[in-house]
Symmetry: C2
Subunit: 393 residues, 2 copies
């Protein structure tokens, strides 16, 4: 029995109605919101219709379990507060379509809070054992709600945690959330690895001063320190990075931030991502040495915050080969292998079983925005690649 | 009759009690606050005791008028919300001491709202005709109060505006509010000019993007544009500036300012000061050309806000010579000529009559802070320089 592309698209549009923003295909369905819980109840019903046993675990991860040993497929159905209709939802509904149309046992999952209302890929992090439930319960969202209270909203649905040993591996389809496939007019990206992330806050403390009466040579301007630091690392990274490496100063807080006052302090985020732990470490050395040099040169003190480290995850070679075979069958010459610069539930699941991922294009690379979209034709190509991959596996 | 240093210091400490912050010599006496009005009432009484006619004008500028033609001396007695005991107060009390101890007719003034609760050097700007009263009345402070309502608090004291033609010139003593004298262990700065200011908001608009999935070569990062712009102007200014020129990027607002998002927009203040209008204009050309070049190179749009322009003001050569003579008499070898990088009431008064200014050191260059201070010995030297200057004039 082949996949039914229309049924797949119909279910995607149906899922979109839970939390539909009224702006294009936009969706607002944050984890544990009424819309999110309603969507999961609806999905559970669809799973049951496909002869999968619906199973909510204690944190709201929703499984549709095939009997016995099975391959697990899926993603997440929660969204950003201002999100798109495909981020997560695509992988869940594609998994459902493959489970109900194929001959081999496939279980489906929609992880909870992938978008990080509370943590980072919270639901799969807890299931994988990376984040102990008792620590998670203390997490607090931007509105001051505790994770324990949020998951309590689904208490009536909850059963125990699912034993991961019933699954032989995990496949996740997702939108790329970046511009690479769209820019190159390609249809499919087979993921090589999910990049590792390093992220820390850096602070330069100089001397707040009057912008009229303080001569340039007596200034210890924290903003100038940031700018000089940024130039220096950009220059030094050139010898270390690959075309896939990214780094970002995204959060910047200048104090006191007034036009007539020489900035006394700046706090900023320094984030860098790459698939190679050695490269991540070399970049860290450059960052630390450069901050120290700039601090000395400009006469500012520097302080590094705690470094958040998420390790790179390589995709399973065998599962990845199946996806490449599927891509070559369905979309010959219009697919590529590529790293995932974004985190996904697969990063966590990799601690439990072999995982692999496949991307479809994001129009203009837009995601985490009501404007996120992918053509229906490209969504169906993604579904067909998964089908072909399962056939070759 | 010579100046009485102890009486001068006693009055300075008395004035400090109005709005004393309880932190060191700190003062909180914003324009039109209860403390400010009480201080002005007290000053009016001291003026009367010195046989000066107290006169409040419609905006709360307080004069102590000598009969007939006279030299005007003074500064302001309002403070920053967190200010020091000397910023403004020093010039007023020194003027009072000279008026009551000398033989020549000296009038005294304490301008209102020099610290800019409503405008910029508001009281003297109105008196000088630069800021029409009807425009000033529409100004609103950070708390939402209109200037018309604030000055209404002093309605019972108000008489008409004082005719500037009764004054032959204006002398203002002030703390330096910068580190130059303190760093060089000098006692007196005779001001050459009050620098001109240019100040505008610049905005770079790029593309907000996911910090993991957007390759470096496809980014249009607004923060990177700011950093590159800053490096470029720092480099190009080298050929244009003098050691007295200053420039500052003080206010920086990065949007959306999150560690995992490539900044889509940055708004920042670009302020530069110098005594030479041509140099100010050359710097403006560099700023505009550099923003354009960076915009093109990084693919961001740029927008310049309206430019605030305050013109440089040269001190009157004759009055300035008297101050230099006085400095050389009282503090030989430990004084210098220097520009004022900060604005002062003298900038406005210069539109009406010849003006000159003299600075005493600020310990560690600190001002607009409870920690602002100058040693009493240095305050007395300043007073004596003024006395000697009047004798030589």
């Amino acid at each position: 029995m082949a996949v039914n592309a229309q049924r797949f698209l119909d279910d995607l549009h149906k899922l979109r109605e839970f939390g539909a923003s009224g702006v294009g295909n936009g969706v607002s369905r944050p984890a544990y919101s009424d819309a999110d819980i309603a969507a999961r109840r609806w999905l559970a019903g669809r799973f049951a219709e496909a002869c999968l046993e619906p199973h909510f675990d204690p944190v709201g991860n929703l499984f549709g379990l095939a009997p016995g040993k099975s391959l697990l497929m899926g993603s997440h159905s929660d969204s950003q507060p201002e999100g798109g209709w495909l981020d997560g939802a695509l992988g869940v509904v594609a998994a459902l379509e493959l489970a109900r149309s194929g001959d081999r046992p496939i279980s489906v999952v929609s992880f909870q809070d992938e978008e990080g209302r509370f943590g980072v890929t919270t639901g799969s992090a807890i299931w994988s054992g990376k984040l102990p439930l008792e620590h998670a319960d203390d997490l607090i969202d931007h509105g001051g709600m505790r994770f324990s209270a949020a998951r309590g909203r689904m208490r009536d649905l909850a059963q125990g945690f699912v034993d991961p040993n019933r699954f032989t591996g995990f496949l996740e389809m997702h939108i790329e959330q970046g511009p690479v496939l769209d820019t190159n007019k390609e249809k499919i990206g087979v993921v090589t690895d999910i990049v590792g992330i390093r992220d820390m806050v850096i602070e330069f403390s100089g001397q707040q001063n009057h912008a009229g009466t303080t001569p340039m040579h007596l200034r210890r301007d924290a903003f100038q320190a940031l700018s000089a630091f940024n130039s220096l690392i950009n220059d030094r990274f050139k010898n270390v990075v690959s075309p896939q490496t990214v780094w970002t100063i995204g959060h910047v807080d200048v104090h006191p931030s007034a036009s007539s006052i020489v900035p006394g302090q700046v706090r900023f985020s320094m984030q860098w991502r790459d698939g190679d732990v050695d490269r991540l470490a070399r970049m860290e050395s450059i960052i630390r040495a450069s901050a120290e040099e700039i601090g000395r040169a400009i006469g500012v003190e520097f302080r590094f915050g705690q470094m958040l480290g998420i390790e790179p995850v390589e995709m399973d070679p065998e599962l990845r080969q199946s996806l490449e075979d599927g891509a070559q069958t369905v979309a010959p010459g219009t697919w590529r292998v590529m790293p995932s610069g974004a985190l996904h539930d697969a990063s966590n699941v990799a601690a439990l079983m072999p995982v692999a991922m496949v991307f479809v294009p994001s129009i203009n690379g837009i995601s985490h925005d009501f404007a996120e979209d992918t053509s229906e034709a490209d969504l169906v190509i993604g579904l067909q690649v998964l089908e072909a991959a399962l056939a070759s596996h």
